[in-house]
Symmetry: C2
Subunit: 129 residues, 2 copies
């Protein structure tokens, strides 16, 4: 178990919706918001056990270890819960980039579509078919 | 219209779910993640028009101007959208605290229930009955 995380996760104490809870992922050092995803009980438990973020992919309907293909894992430093107990905030050390488009953060555009985020890798080189 | 925000919001271009899109709110200066909430078309349009965050309250099923009672409004400085077009990141200037419990951020506890956030007001004094 990853030493800085809670030794006693009680998923039932959280207000999940259809078994899922929202997780916002933030870079612990730069404080950049990297991405949002959802966790089920297994994803949260795996995250705490391994210290590496795991999510539930709603599109693929399966457990998803972030960075499994790319190597761009997120090492979890701290997990916070919000006042309503229905969202988690994960403070992480991000290896490479969080976004499959090659950016450090998934929030790399403003509403006009202008790119404001930093590109850190080339998706074609990382996700080889 | 608030000058720094997009003059052309196209809610239809976003991937809403049941007419709602997730909004993560972050303090522009401290980079603290303050809260998560949902926006419908009207909430996003009101936010852009006024430069003050508006959300859709899922529990009360009504438009909700953040800070209407407390005066703790959020002045929007920038809006970003994620790669999947299903989440927004709002960079704001937070007046007072974002959390109805009196904390600067709704994420004021870690998973053990330990308070790690800063208390900035007394709810009893702000929300008078």
């Amino acid at each position: 178990m990853f030493c800085n995380l809670s030794p006693m996760i009680d998923f039932d104490a959280l207000k999940s919706e259809k078994g899922l809870i929202l997780a916002v992922v933030q870079d612990q050092l730069s404080r950049e918001v990297l991405m949002c995803a959802y966790m089920n009980r297994e994803a949260l438990e795996k995250t705490v056990e391994t210290g590496i973020t795991h999510f539930w992919s709603r599109s693929r309907q399966q457990l998803w270890k972030k960075g499994e293909t790319s190597g761009h894992v997120q090492k979890v430093k701290e997990i916070r819960v919000d006042c309503d107990m229905d969202s988690l905030l994960l403070l992480v050390e991000q290896v490479g980039g969080a976004c499959h488009m090659g950016y450090r953060s998934c929030f790399y555009r403003n509403l006009e579509g202008e790119v404001v985020g930093e590109k850190v890798f080339e998706p074609d080189e990382v996700y080889k078919s």
